[in-house]
């Protein structure tokens, strides 16, 4: 055996040992190693957050795919060159960028979500191998095509595509792609969320809010529009607002979703609820009279005197005129007819003091203290809408009791949730909460409120010819935080309107926080805005007005106005009448109407001319 062969033998032995060690090590790491890596390590699959749409399917929030420029720092060979090359393209400071690269040891986001043209420039450099260690990572972002429209409702998502505010936050799990979707699905989709908002109404509301906000240089303006029949919110305006696409460039105040977060003293608009409460409690009758000589005054046994000023000397007032003239003294005297516990309980029936649970973050229930903590002046003061803090949402929600025969409704902002494959997962329908007042009280309240828009009423500036409108104005003094007393020059001016009075379709409410200038009365500055909004809403909603032969419907279809179907002592000939116009039959006291089919009446049973009897059955076939 030669020397070379012997030496070679040694090499072979060392070699063999090395190979054995190698295989043993692989066996140890691959098979024996106790700390198996968590198999649920997330795999990057592309996923798409579901869109948010208005009730008609118009897109308010949608998914975008943008690229981020990232760095794997160990692979960057020349930080200075990399920084100098990238900085001008990404509009960053080269020095700063170099420092960031130097300070990082691993993964680094250089710039997130760059524009497609920037991405292309970077992509070319990477392809030319000019930028080792730099890559482009796709990132899923959110775009709000309508910009600031409905911004407070939508909220916004952070750069990691997680909802941070609004519906985006509260429905994050619904919108985010389901975690238990098929693992190997190439793209995971989130659910689609339809809001109750109508984009057109939202636009009208925001237009009015913004105009008011600018005209009166107010702190903020809220305009809410609700469907009176089912509690669905159609418009939710809140000025100042922001663009959720660039939410981080806006201050916190503008992002505040005030209709749920801002508790304020509502002032005289609240009288509709206090008077309705007194009527419901039976202490007040429509003809109960009080005398207003410009103030309310009451002496208590402990020699305390409570004094509340009225805006005028209204003389003899009753429930209706208290509302019509917004008489503080009358409302305060009326509240003396009930105990504070009764009054508190009945006001609570309207939902005051508790949250509505509309799915928004940060909702407040307002401030409505327990009766045992009330002072002598609390009850009469609450009767005129002070010493109680409410949210605009609570106010508009409470008003649903008047438009639904006394039944308080759950407000809704989400219409339905639809899965990526088109299945309706959840749909919100009319949802009664409780009978807040008797139907008679609700009806009486609407009729009393109607007089407020008559000549001499405080809301006459809201009136729209040809339609019956129930309304109430308010001008609340704000508490001056420095003194703790009511301020002489900070007010909340507001007006609520419900129309048409005979068949309520809409509840609209405007709240102007701290208007500047000489005009600050709700009746002067808020009521005209309610009218302005109504002038747009009424034709859009196709609400019939009285003195027009032909009315505009959605600005497109012209319809001849149909007279009301009236049923007297005997059945009229209903043939050829649309189902829509016969809907009031369903609530007729004596007739039990049964509708079959859709369209227009083809046949009716019993025949026309049959006398109406109690509990008679009327079968209508439609075609």
């Amino acid at each position: 055996m030669s020397k070379a062969t012997r030496r070679f033998g040694i090499v072979i032995i060392l070699f063999t040992v090395f190979v054995l060690l190698l295989v043993a090590q692989y066996f140890k790491v691959m098979v024996l190693e106790p700390d198996k890596p968590e198999p649920e390590r997330t795999i990057e699959t592309s996923s798409e957050r579901g869109p948010i749409l208005d009730r008609n399917g118009r897109i308010l929030a949608m998914q975008t795919r943008l690229f981020s420029v990232t760095a794997w720092v160990p692979n960057i060979e020349n930080p200075a060159y990399t920084a100098e090359t990238l900085a001008p393209i990404l509009k960053l400071d080269a020095e700063m960028l170099k420092r960031r690269i130097d300070q990082s040891r691993g993964f680094l986001y250089i710039k997130r979500k760059v524009s497609p043209s920037t991405r292309e420039k970077v992509r070319r450099l990477i392809a030319d191998r000019k930028l080792p260690g730099i890559s482009l990572e796709p990132e899923y972002g959110r775009n709000y095509p309508e910009q600031d429209l409905a911004a407070h409702v939508l909220g916004f998502v952070g750069t990691d595509n997680v909802g941070l505010d609004g519906i985006e936050l509260t429905y994050n799990d619904t919108l985010a792609p389901s975690a238990d979707a098929e693992d190997n699905a190439p793209v995971k989709y989130g659910n689609q969320l339809f809001l109750t908002l109508d984009l057109n109404i939202q636009y009208m509301a925001e237009e009015v809010a913004q105009k008011t906000y600018e005209e009166y240089d107010a702190n903020s303006v809220m305009v809410l529009v609700m469907d009176a029949r089912n509690g669905e919110i159609l418009g939710w305006a809140n000025s100042p607002d922001f663009d959720p696409n660039t939410f981080n460039r806006t201050d916190v105040f503008a992002k505040n979703n005030r209709p749920v977060t801002y508790a304020y003293e509502p002032g005289s608009v609240f009288k509709i609820f206090s008077i309705a409460s007194l009527l419901e409690l039976g202490a007040l009758a429509p003809d109960t009279e009080f005398y207003c000589n410009g103030y309310y005054e009451r002496e208590f046994p402990n020699a305390d005197t409570v004094h509340i000023n009225c805006l005028g000397t209204h003389g003899t007032v009753n429930a209706q005129t208290i509302l019509q003239y917004s008489c503080n003294a009358g409302a305060a005297y009326a509240s003396d007819l009930v105990s504070k516990e009764e009054f508190h309980r009945q006001i609570t029936e309207f939902g005051f003091g508790s949250k509505t649970h509309l799915p928004f973050p940060g909702e407040t229930g307002g401030i409505f203290s327990e009766p045992e903590r009330w002072s002598g002046r609390t009850k009469p003061t609450i009767a005129i809408g002070q010493e109680i803090s409410v949210t605009a949402l609570q106010m508009i929600t409470a008003a649903t009791a008047f438009t639904n025969q006394g039944m308080l409704l759950q407000p809704h902002i989400v219409k339905k949730i639809v899965s990526p494959d088109g299945k309706i997962i959840q749909e919100n329908k009319r949802e009664p909460i409780r009978q807040a007042v008797r139907p008679e009280v609700a009806e009486a309240s609407l009729l009393m409120m109607e007089t407020v828009t008559a000549d001499g009423g405080t809301a006459h500036r809201a009136r729209i010819d040809g339609i019956r409108m129930s309304a109430k104005t308010g001008t609340a003094q704000k508490i001056d935080p420095r003194t703790g007393n009511y301020s002489e020059n900070s007010f909340v001016a507001s007006t609520m309107a419900i129309y048409p009075t005979d068949d309520p379709r809409l509840i609209t409410y405007i709240v102007i926080d701290t208007p500047q200038g000489d005009e600050f009365y709700g009746g002067r500055i808020a009521a005209p805005m309610i009218r302005e909004l109504g002038l747009k809403l009424i034709p859009y909603m196709g609400i019939p007005t009285e003195n027009e032969e032909v009315i505009r419907h959605s600005g497109v279809v012209k319809l001849k106005q149909q007279p009301q179907v009236e049923i007297g002592a005997s059945l009229p000939d209903l043939r050829g009448i649309s189902k829509r116009r016969l809907l009031p039959l369903l609530s007729h006291e004596d007739i039990d109407a049964i509708f079959r089919g859709e369209g227009w009446v083809k046949s009716q049973d019993p025949e026309p001319g049959t006398p109406v009897t109690k509990n008679m059955q009327l079968i209508l076939e439609f075609e």
């Binding site: 030669s2 070379a4 090395f18 692989y26 190693e33 160990p74 990477i126």
Partner: protein, 382 residues
């Protein structure tokens, strides 16, 4: 003796070793498959083309196979005469990587020459050149190897020059690998054991010193000793490779089913490609791959022994080429499993890269050439 060789070569129309050929085809095929699996995500992400790396690699294989065929046919003794030319060419190319217009840097290393849009890594060629050169010179010196001044110093200087140039390209691991292969050849050639010990004792402290001159090398060593000391920095790759291996388990996740390559494991298509292979093929696959390279070693080394002692040059060349391929593979596998600190050595026939693939295939061609010309008497013995 030279005439005999020429005569023998002309007379024998021997066929090459089919086993060796099959081994190479298997390794290249598995390597290509693994490369595709390892690179399609990264290729799609970075070049908008999942096949980017795969197609390039196929092209490299194509070029390599042509050159391998030529290498398997050229007269080997002619190679001995061409050695000085080869040396000059390689040294020139190595030196050219320092010329600004030609050099091409990737990740802080200036190992590449840029020629018409393609890059070439002369240090890969250096491995081949050195093996041929050392085999030629050390076999020529023959029994005079104890003459230190005339027989050992000159080749040693050449090795030093090569190593220095490669080291200056910031390619510490290739430099070290070249030294190891050279020492092996010196050792097997039969220089006195104490000279060898002396050489070895020179290299070790020098290498340790050079490790300490670059921060990233120290970090790699620290990361090797304790990967979790810097989990998002240098230790990241080591830990990611461990994840891949552990997730592979015994049977593997199946071809294409690995997940570490989705950005978790940097360089998944080049130096750490074996981690992807291990994750997808499991321990079984790892053993199979080791066995393939081991079979290559057995075949190569037994072929080498056929030339001993009649043809010292062919013996050393066979030994050197086989070692070059197999050692690189084993060191790379050792890096992936964390036995050895992270280096820049590719896995021959697997890792993405034209220079490595072409040179490895040329080495394969030369080995097939050697197998064709092995002395008839020794055939089939091993």
């Amino acid at each position: 003796m030279m005439n005999d060789r020429f005569y023998a070569e002309r007379v024998k129309e021997e066929r090459h070793d089919t086993t060796l050929l099959i081994l190479f085809i298997l390794i290249v095929g598995i390597g290509l498959g693994t490369l595709f699996s390892a690179s399609y995500y990264y290729g799609g992400k970075r070049f908008d083309d999942p096949f980017h790396f795969f197609y390039r690699q196929i092209a490299f294989v194509g070029v390599g196979v042509v050159l391998a065929f030529i290498s398997s046919r050229i007269p080997l003794q002619g190679l001995v005469h061409k050695t000085p030319l080869l040396l000059v060419l390689t040294l020139t190319l190595l030196a050219a990587t320092f010329i600004p217009g030609l050099k091409h840097s990737i990740m802080g290393a200036n190992r590449w020459l840029s020629i018409g849009g393609y890059t070439f890594q002369p240090s890969e060629l250096a491995k081949l050149t050195l093996v041929i050169y050392l085999s030629a010179i050390l076999s020529k010196k023959g029994e005079r190897l104890d003459d230190v001044v005339n027989s050992i110093i000159p080749p040693l200087l050449v090795v030093f020059l090569f190593t220095a140039l490669i080291y200056l390209q910031n390619d510490f691991s290739t430099a070290l690998f070249v030294i190891i292969v050279s020492l092996l050849l010196f050792f097997v050639a039969g220089i006195k054991f104490r000279y060898f010990l002396f050489l070895f004792s020179m290299v070790l402290p020098l290498a340790s010193m050079l490790v300490l001159t670059k921060e990233y090398r120290v970090r790699r060593v620290i990361a090797f000793l304790d990967p979790n000391s810097d989990p998002i920095g240098t230790g990241y790759q080591v830990i990611a490779a461990r994840h891949a291996l552990a997730s592979g388990d015994f049977w593997g996740r199946g071809f294409g089913m690995g997940t570490e390559k989705f950005g978790g494991l940097p360089e998944a298509h080049s130096d750490f490609i074996f981690a992807v292979f291990a994750e997808e093929m499991g321990f079984v696959g790892v053993v199979f791959a080791v066995v393939l390279f081991l079979a290559l070693a057995v075949r190569g080394y037994s072929l080498a022994l056929q030339y001993e002692p009649s043809d010292r040059f062919s013996f050393m060349l066979t030994l050197g080429l086989t070692s070059c391929l197999v050692f690189q593979a084993l060191v790379n596998m050792a890096v992936v499993v964390g036995m050895v600190p992270a280096t820049g050595l590719p896995l021959p026939f697997f890792s993405h890269g034209g220079s490595s693939m072409v040179i490895s295939l040329i080495m394969a061609g030369l080995l097939l050439n050697l197998s064709r010309n092995a002395p008839a008497s020794a055939r089939g013995e091993l």
